[in-house]
């Protein structure tokens, strides 16, 4: 496993990320900080703005042909919204898109969501370097070099 991983190289093109705010809450400080940090790390970042439905997010992800969807959820609706976005992407033929994100999400909910095919989720106080590293190493594993 480790040997296989080291064989892989980072993709030759920038990683494309959709940063999205699903649901009704207006807490976009984290989403904007993350979007700016990913952009500064060399990724191509699209930010949806607030109050998006899962359908709107999945549609944007497909249209923009992104590699990663990052959802920021501080409203407590994570158990509904993460699986919904993931399922819509699967339904639209894009099960390869990484669905990750963060917010106020209890540890056990994070674990439960991982089991449903959602990527790693990050809580408050996470340095942006951690998310960048996570997405970059995911890209090494999953995207064409």
């Amino acid at each position: 496993m480790m040997a296989a991983a080291t064989d892989r190289r980072p993709p030759s093109r920038p990683i494309r990320v959709l940063v999205a705010k699903p649901g009704l809450d207006g807490h976009d400080r984290g989403a904007k900080v993350v979007a700016a940090a990913l952009r500064d790390a060399g990724m191509e970042v699209i930010y949806t703005g607030l109050h998006q439905t899962p359908e709107m997010i999945a549609r944007a992800a497909v249209q923009e042909d992104v590699d990663v969807v990052g959802l920021s959820i501080l409203s407590g609706a994570h158990m509904t919204l993460f699986p919904r976005v993931r399922q819509l992407l699967v339904d639209q033929g894009r099960p390869d898109v990484l669905v990750t994100g963060g917010g106020i999400i209890p540890r056990e909910d994070m674990d439960a969501l991982r089991e449903q095919g959602v990527g790693r989720l990050f809580g408050p106080g996470t340095p942006t370097a951690d998310l960048i590293e996570y997405i970059e190493s995911w890209a090494v594993e999953h995207l064409e070099a």
């Binding site: 009704l24 809450d25 904007k32 900080v33 949806t48 109050h51 409203s75 407590g76 408050p124 370097a129």
Partner: protein, 572 residues
């Protein structure tokens, strides 16, 4: 022995002599301070720290009378214009601040139980946290509400839910604060209708509705209508309440959310006051007498980590408001000059790491709020970065206030930091910075233009990015996050809001729709549309809708057809 002065020339000579003496005194002090600085410059300093405030302001190693305004202002007293030292002469000797914990989750019945829990433990006012569907004007059974009903607050879809929320709590005896903005007028009407059901008429109601839409566009983002109709509805409420509910605070002009979104102390101060001036001007433009509505305008501040900066911010806020209201807007009633406010400790400072440390953070912030002369206070619970608070954590938060009020002695003296060189200098400095920002806002074309162009949002985002960079580079220490980190965190028990709330809310709304007088609902909604189209004050028609159990979204929908919806400028 008393000296008697007989001629004017003697007095002038005396005054000149006094001035000369003062000047010599200042000279001595300047020399002393210069010498002290030279000595201090040679002493070792801690290298790892920037000596700046949380807002990035550089701070001197010591403050002296040289930092006070030249000539010196006459000593001010609390309860006296411009109220830098507090709005009441005796401050907390007369009456303690209201201990008001923001609470709401699940159904109206769940939250009603939490209110009774808090009232039984000595809380003195209620404060309603609504769920996101309610904040955005959606009914619990609307498709967009799925997964969010009762999660971050209580779900209120109609006046019936409001009746249940306050069941057994006499609304002529408590004061209630409601944090709601986009649909503020609707929830206010639900409250009035629920009170009427208890036999309580609106003139007996005491409390506050947040109703501050400008900061929604800037920071919190729970909007519905475009700016102009939203402001029109707010002025409608000013007008209606000044006549029918004179004890009700019709707005709580809020810096809290602006600060939480990343603004500095000076930006919070200036942007919020600028919003306040905008509301005043809208009221005046309607032809309302300033002294008729200004006494019911209240404010809401964030109390962040930087202890003295926060105290100075609150002192500066009162002074600026009083001066503007009297000098620019011509208010004659003293009550119009007095800025009364609520404070909440800064949620954004709480850490998910080592969450019990938050109890101490909240304690220091609460102390700053009290030393800054707040009228009411919410102390955050230590587990709020993890979930909604448990009964245990809110009890500790409330007890934190009671410790301040009854054990520390800080409530005995009004504005105990008045006269501190540092606090006075910082108060002046914040006032000057706010004045500078008012000029920038003017240059942007005023508040409405500056928020429609995204200017405020960019200012806030850039402060937020600066702070984040400081933390990530380790230049600003956050205990337990980038320093003093524990390798293994022990988990704390958190509150779980079950999905049964959503189900029972949906069932309740379905029952309501079946039981109410459908024809009456239609008539009332049509009358509301007529009032909106005629550009009349829409509150009476909206109140009639509430009385007929029209739902939140029904009212929103009718008005949206006429007013349209707000579209945010998207950027990062």
């Amino acid at each position: 022995m008393t000296t008697w002065h007989v001629g004017p020339s003697d007095t002038e000579a005396d005054a000149r002599a006094r001035l000369a003496e003062q000047e010599r005194e200042l000279e001595r002090l300047r020399a002393e301070v210069a010498e002290w600085r030279a000595r201090a410059a040679k002493l070792p300093l801690r290298e790892e720290v920037d000596f700046t405030s949380v807002s990035g302001r550089s701070v001197e190693p010591v403050y002296t009378p040289l930092d006070l305004p030249p000539g010196g202002e006459p000593a001010e007293l609390p309860g006296v214009y411009p109220f830098t030292r507090g709005v009441h002469p005796t401050m907390y000797r007369g009456r303690l601040w209201t201990m008001r914990q923001f609470a709401g989750f699940g159904t109206a019945e769940d939250t009603n139980r939490r209110y009774k829990f808090l009232l039984e433990r000595g809380q003195t006012g209620l404060s309603v946290a609504f769920d996101f569907p309610t904040l955005m004007g959606y009914d619990s059974d609307h498709p967009r509400s799925e997964g969010e009903v009762g999660k971050c607050g209580v779900a209120i879809t109609s006046a019936r839910d409001m009746e249940q929320l306050f069941a057994g709590i006499p609304l002529d005896k408590v004061s209630t604060s409601m944090t709601i903005n986009g649909p503020a007028a609707m929830l206010f009407c639900f409250y009035v209708a629920a009170a009427e059901r208890q036999g309580v008429s609106p003139e007996k109601l005491r409390g506050t509705i947040q109703n501050d839409i400008l900061k929604e566009y800037m920071a919190q983002h729970a909007w519905i209508f475009p700016v102009e109709p939203a402001l029109k509805i707010i002025v409608d409420l000013f007008q209606w309440a000044s006549e029918h509910a004179p004890q009700w605070n019709t707005i709580s002009i809020s810096g809290y959310h602006i600060r939480e979104a990343g603004a500095t102390a000076a930006q919070e101060l200036a942007f919020t006051l600028a919003d306040g001036f905008e509301y005043v001007e809208r009221g005046l433009a309607r032809g309302l007498d300033i002294d008729w509505f200004a006494p019911r305008l209240s404010f809401f501040w964030d109390v962040h980590n930087d202890f003295f900066e926060e105290i100075a911010k609150l002192r500066a806020a009162r002074r600026i408001w009083a001066r503007r209201l009297r000098e620019k807007y011509g208010a004659r009633d003293e009550r119009s000059w007095k800025m009364r406010f609520h404070c909440q400790t800064a949620g954004v400072t709480l850490t998910a790491q080592q969450p019990h440390n938050n109890i101490a953070r909240v304690g220091y912030q609460a102390l700053a709020a009290v030393l800054g002369g707040t009228q009411s206070l919410h102390t955050n619970a230590y587990d709020e970065t993890l979930a909604l608070p448990t009964e245990e954590s809110v009890r500790i938060a409330l007890r934190t206030q009671q410790l301040l009020a009854y054990e520390t002695g800080v409530a005995n003296v009004a504005d105990p930091l008045g006269g501190s060189y540092y606090v006075e200098a910082l108060t002046d400095q914040l006032e000057r910075e706010a004045e500078g920002l008012f000029a920038e806002i003017e240059a942007q074309g005023g508040v409405v233009h500056a928020l429609e162009s995204g200017w405020f949002q960019r200012q806030i985002a850039s402060s937020s990015a600066r702070f984040q960079a400081e933390v990530e580079q380790g230049r600003r220490i956050v205990v337990g996050v980038n320093e003093f980190v524990e390798t293994s965190e022990h988990e704390v028990d958190i509150l779980k809001v079950s999905d049964t709330a959503e189900r029972s809310q949906r069932e309740g709304v379905a029952r309501l729709r079946a039981e109410r007088d459908a024809a009456l609902v239609e008539r009332r909604l049509a009358a509301l549309a007529d009032a909106a189209r005629a550009d009349a004050n829409i509150i009476p028609a909206m109140l009639d809708c509430a009385r007929a159990y029209c739902t939140l979204f029904e009212i929103r929908h009718v008005l949206e057809q006429i007013y349209g919806s707000y579209r945010e400028p998207v950027f990062f």
